[in-house]
Amino acid sequence: MMNPQEPGLIFEHSREGRSAAAQMPRRPDGPIRIPEALRRRSAPGLPSASELDVVRHYTRLSQRNFSIDTQFYPLGSCTMKYNPRACNSLAMLPGFLNRHPLAPAGYSQGFLQTMHELQEMLREVTGMSGVSLTPMAGAQGEFAGVAMIRAYHDARGDRQRSEIIVPDAAHGTNPATAIMCGYQVREIPTDASGDVDLDALRAAVGPQTAGIMLTNPSTLGVFERRIREIAGIVHEAGGLLYYDGANLNAILGKVRPGDMGFDVIHMNLHKTFSTPHGGGGPGAGAVGVSQRLLPFLPVPVVVRTDDGPYRLATEADRPQTIGRLSAFAGNAGVLLRAYVYMRMLGREGMTRVAEFSTLNANYVMAELRRAGFDLAFPERRATHEFIVTLKRQSRETGLTAMDVAKRLLDHGYHAPTTYFPLLVPECLLIEPTETESRQTLDGFVTAMVAVLEESGRDIETIKGAPHRLPNRRFNEVAAAKRLDVVYRPEAAETAAGL
């Protein structure tokens, strides 16, 4: 007999003949036109359950969620920043929802105007010369950025440039993108205070340098302090600067990548500009470029001549474009949400995002340090995020980053990022984001301190955490190696002793 508290699997609610008739899709009238050879031979293994059983099942499951709507999520903007409800409701206005992507520009002036204004706002906030909204995700934005670097060198006949320099503190996607675009990756180290090692950079650049991919603030939770020198060294060697703008909340309205000397930037709108993400999308990885890369921007982009109508510029207008990255013009629904978010904030609001995201991170950092946690870069200020290292505790009491992550769940807090960046042992990467109140931050600090204190007297309890959640600590090795997500009725019957 199933435990009524345990949601189990939807298959376990299945009984022959049950269905939710009112929810059934209607079978098309007339004969089925799928050729005989392509039809399946047996019925699909779908559960048969009543509407009420289905509603209860999924509602119970949802009650077990740790979500941004119920709990503090120090994973931050990379994963789960709060998305204001208005972004959603305004992007769902019927005029947007019902517009067909192939509708002529004459019928889409409102939509095209919002996209044009979004391009302009992103151009302004990054200090670049032009923006294209078509990349459908951060990875595609990165690809577009490096493809433009390649197109630029190729257009000049400068074909000896075969290397992209990537600091070891970069996002893991950066070297992957360089390889995808046919470059070799040259990694350069970070110095002890978290900045790019300038001597290593000077030694690495040369006539083979196509560009450098840089994340600023870096994944170490610090601002790159010598960015102008870096730009000078790379530009002097004939390379271009790529800015990984995955998370811009620490710099919005404060400094602009264009002013730092960057030639190309991608922006994860689903991170900084608060559109929903996680679970693989849909995302939006808009790209911005400096003057010399303008001809290579991916199409389509929204253009307007004087006071004329808005229209999509295509290959015909931009013969040197790197081409298209999506069937239409990016994820329209996601772009609309970013547009609403930016319009609600306005120029001053964006500056406040940078101020509060960095203030919140620095506040939590200072409180945790005071409570006895070690910082990875104690002499540096935090950006929108910072790193705690449990290297000392793991040696002294056995308390690891994973233990803290699991025990925090018992206190009602989602875990921060663990074991990233790889450069810092036993680390927690903590990003509160700009939307959290001081009370929430204090509550999180209290929980962190409670775990630290507990580790001194009862490490065993922590090692078994979580204790207060429906599921206990998972065997991660088994989950990674023997993950089995296919339901087989025979296996379930065997397990139940039937």
Binding site: K391, R395, M402, T418, Y419, F420, L422, P425, E476, V477, A480, K481
Partner: protein, 130 residues
């Protein structure tokens, strides 16, 4: 404290090297390295017959925490790989210096082996990092 067998040579990137009687070398990752990585869930070895270059990444070890490159300590040709690791990556955790070996290389320049650290130097390096 992690083990550091005296009869092996070591690289700065935490690979160990054993010189075999036939002049080839066996390569694995050290006890210290496997302890830092945690439980391995996946090991990708180079293909037998492929060339490797000293200091270049040629294998990958993935744990529940992270995926890390393994660098070839010497240049040469891969002459054997530990096929067991495909199904049992935990061998590297259980027995890093024996059953958990990764691959075997026929070195093109045996002088490169002399450039590696001995056990004491490696143990001192690990101690200075922690």
């Amino acid at each position: 404290m992690s083990a550091t067998p005296q009869d092996l040579k070591y690289s700065k990137s935490h690979e160990w090297v054993r010189l075999e009687p036939d002049g080839s070398v066996t390569v694995g990752i050290t006890d210290h390295a496997q302890a830092l990585l945690g439980d391995l869930v996946f090991v990708e070895t180079p293909e037998s017959g492929s060339p490797v270059e000293a200091g270049q990444a040629c294998a990958t070890v993935e744990s529940v925490k992270a995926a890390s490159d393994v660098y070839a300590p010497v240049s040469g040709e891969v002459i054997a790989v530990n096929e067991d690791l495909a199904d049992s990556p935990e061998r590297v955790n259980e027995s890093p210096f024996a059953e958990g070996w990764l691959f075997r290389v026929q070195p093109s320049d045996s002088g490169e082996i002399d450039g590696l650290m001995d056990a004491d130097a490696y143990a001192a390096m690990v101690a200075s990092e922690s």
